[in-house]
């Protein structure tokens, strides 16, 4: 069993006990789950993939991805992606020390107006996950890794379609509590890629759960005197869910492995593309198989399908497809297959 399998199992056990259906519903209404955070923090899960020098517990990108898959499988209502994988990546800049507590990361939306002017931060960061609750809001702004606290911002609270906090934070000339020069590989595009990997990992977990829920429901639910899963037309939906989950799960594993080695732009863009497709295909199939029951907040399915729709829109939806296409054209017909077989090693330039 690999280290990632062990980590997944540990996190899976904890989340199964803590992030119950009721707790996730409560977090949707209150905007936060202290219970989940404290339990995860106690096991050290909230800083996996963050270097020890920066206040983390160490671990690879693949470790953080395994944790996020488990988090996706249990719809953990916390900024775990931001506190682990994304914070760990930002903390590669020398001098970045992270405080205790939930961290979040400014996702650098296309029309964000943030700028550093004389070491002061101006403008608005849009759709910051749990911006209101973070002990520190991290960002990559104008070649610097910055950290600000929510108290330094005007917070406009909002949620995504899954009911998770996505807040707009406005800054009017505040001095960040953390401001270190970014290292050269910390570009805006690489932040988008790390974000895309984090969302793909969460989505892989959610897809596996959607597949399990759908397989189970169609065995239990009876109509016309038998389990609906014995009808071929319903089996089609069950199988689609399982296929999409397996496809994305595998793609994310490969992307994480390559990311730990350095160059993984292709693998991450491809994995997120598969995850985005799967969100559409699997959600539709799962809901169709569930009928009216799946459309209610009383039944567990929505905690996963709504997150799939939300995460699909974060860190690249259609844009990666176009980017990949342009790179394939630039590489040329003679190397088309090499991209399929060799991924980033084909020399595709992204």
């Amino acid at each position: 069993m690999s280290e990632q399998d062990l980590l997944f199992e540990t996190a899976d056990r904890l989340f199964a006990a803590v992030c119950t259906f009721d707790e996730v519903q409560r977090a949707q209404n209150s905007g936060w789950s202290d219970l989940s955070w404290e339990a995860s923090n106690e096991l050290g899960l909230t800083r996996i993939g963050v270097g020890e020098d920066a206040g983390g517990v160490g671990g690879s990108i693949a470790d953080a991805v395994a944790l996020l898959m488990a988090a996706g499988y249990h719809s953990v209502p916390l900024p775990l992606a931001e506190s682990t994988l994304l914070a760990g990546w930002l903390a590669k800049a020398p001098g970045v020390i992270l405080p205790e507590g939930p961290l979040t990361v400014i996702p650098n939306k296309a029309n964000d107006s943030l700028r550093l002017d004389g070491a002061k931060l101006f403008g608005t960061a849009q759709r910051v996950p749990w911006g209101r609750k973070a002990s520190l809001v991290l960002g990559l702004i104008d070649g610097h890794i910055i950290g600000v606290t929510p108290s330094q911002a005007t917070v406009s609270e909002d949620v995504n379609v899954a009911g998770e906090a996505r807040d707009d934070l406005s800054f009017d000339g505040v001095t960040p509590v953390l401001c270190e020069r970014a290292v050269p590989e910390q570009t805006k595009q690489s932040l988008q890629l790390v974000g895309a990997l984090s969302r793909s990992a969460l989505m892989a977990g959610a897809l596996l759960r959607v597949a399990d829920i759908t397989a189970q429901y169609t065995q239990e639910r009876k109509q016309f005197g038998k389990a609906i899963g014995s009808f071929q037309a319903v089996q089609l939906h069950v199988v689609r869910c399982a296929e999409q989950a397996a496809y994305v799960d595998l793609g994310v594993q490969v992307a994480a492995r390559e990311a730990d080695r350095g160059v993984a732009a292709f693998e991450i863009m491809a994995a997120k593309t598969l995850a985005n497709d799967a969100a559409r295909i699997a959600s539709r199939a799962a809901h169709q198989a569930h009928g009216a029951m799946g459309m209610t907040q009383e039944y567990v399915l929505h905690q996963y399908t709504r997150r799939l729709w939300a995460w699909r829109s974060e860190y690249g939806d259609a844009s990666w497809v176009h980017h990949l296409g342009e790179a394939v054209v630039a590489l040329g017909a003679d190397h088309h297959f090499h991209v399929i077989a060799d991924g980033s090693a084909s020399g595709i330039s992204l």
């Binding site: 399990d212 793609g251 490969v254 598969l274 176009h322 054209v329 040329g332 088309h336």
Partner: protein, 378 residues
């Protein structure tokens, strides 16, 4: 429980093999030197099969003592994907290499192994698959071909149909009824049939694109010596279902349109619409993901596991994707594809339009596969 696959990658040795195969293809199969085909239906070249055999690239997983290379399923994947994506003519050795040799190695007697495996690994023998019958398609256990015991062997009567390459093949592994049983899954056996035996009539059946890949094979009192029964008498169903799972996981389930898209890109690189660019980006991601499934399933086989469900999802998703690619290409470019066009893209697309519906059928229809997957998820 969900179906999961474990990520794997080519070892250094496997990448060396890949480089050798790529160099071989550059030398022996340069673009323009042959008319490329589509995947498994790519025509046949005994010369190419022999060249591959000489290099140890056929029957790769077979033991060395029987002419194989003691290599692996992943090694075979590395070799076949490079050949398939170029549309190389592989039909002469395809079935023997993919499954007949594996079956004989797994279930055959020592004499059968000595007799067949070295010639399979050398690319000499062409095998065909005797499964479907006029009244037995997806419901394979209902086959009616029957072999009755006679002095020194069996007397076979019946009809096989949709048999690719029957008219070129040297041998067939034929599923037939040899014993009476209450349960249709019992009483079946596999026989090795010399296709030149008296009493065999082969009637080619033209495909939609005019090629005669398919045939009907009629057996009338065909004598099969007793030493050509493969495996256990009456165990045919178990053997044939494991044979079908070898058929499913490979790159041939997603790779077929690669050569069409490659030619589309080559011929239209200067005039691609934004939709075409998105198509190229989207398909490259999906192809990469499907190839990871084939690779992971192949690695599982090499580790002694039986990835039947993983292979089934690979085939189901791969062949559906292949069809989507053909449909999308037709929407992207306003040409009338022609089998005799001067443009390789147009010729390949025309063939694909005609034969693509067969891709999710052969090797077990996707409807049957989905039933197998659904059962596995319970």
């Amino acid at each position: 429980m969900a179906i999961r696959l474990i990520a794997t990658e080519l070892t250094e040795q496997e990448r060396d093999l890949q480089a050798q195969v790529r160099a071989f293809c550059e030398e022996h199969l340069p673009r323009g030197s042959f008319e490329p085909g589509l995947g498994m239906s790519s025509g046949q070249s005994r010369d190419l099969s022999r060249e591959l055999g000489k290099r140890g690239w056929l029957g790769m997983a077979l033991p060395q003592e029987y002419g194989g290379s003691d290599r692996s399923t992943v090694d075979r994947l590395v070799v076949v994907e490079e050949l398939l994506r170029r549309g190389a003519p592989l039909e002469h050795h395809w079935t023997a290499d993919r499954q007949s040799g594996v079956m004989i190695n797994r279930s055959g007697t020592q004499e059968q192994k000595q007799r067949f495996l070295p010639s399979i690994a050398a690319g000499e023998l062409c095998f065909c698959i005797g499964m479907s019958e006029p009244d037995s398609g997806s419901d394979l256990a209902s086959v009616k071909s029957r072999a009755i015991p006679v002095d020194g062997g069996w007397l076979l009567n019946g009809t096989k149909i949709w048999t690719s390459n029957a008219h070129f093949a040297d041998w067939m592994i034929c599923l037939c009824r040899t014993h009476d049983a209450d349960n249709p899954h019992q009483g079946l056996s596999q026989l090795l049939i010399d296709m030149r035996s008296p009493g065999i009539t082969i009637n080619p059946i033209p495909l939609l694109d005019g090629t005669a890949d398919f045939a009907e094979v009629v057996f009338e009192d065909v004598f099969v010596p007793e030493d050509l029964l493969l495996g256990e008498p009456g165990n045919g169903w178990t053997q044939v279902t494991s044979e079908l799972s070898f058929e499913r996981a490979g790159p041939e389930r997603w790779i077929t349109p690669v050569i069409i898209v490659e030619n589309f890109l080559r011929e239209n690189a200067d005039s691609l619409s934004p939709a075409a660019v998105d198509f190229l980006g989207h398909t490259i991601a999906r192809w990469w993901g499907l190839r990871q499934i084939s690779l992971a399933a192949a690695r599982m086989i090499d580790e002694g596991l039986a990835p039947a469900l993983q292979a089934a999802i690979g085939k189901d998703m791969g062949t559906e994707f292949e069809q989507e690619v053909i449909t999308a290409l037709q929407q992207l470019i306003d040409i009338e594809p022609s089998l005799v066009s001067r443009s390789p893209f147009s010729r390949l697309l025309a063939r694909a339009v005609l034969v693509a519906p067969s891709w999710p059928i052969r090797g077990g229809t996707n409807e049957v596969l989905k039933g197998i997957i659904a059962k596995g998820l319970r």
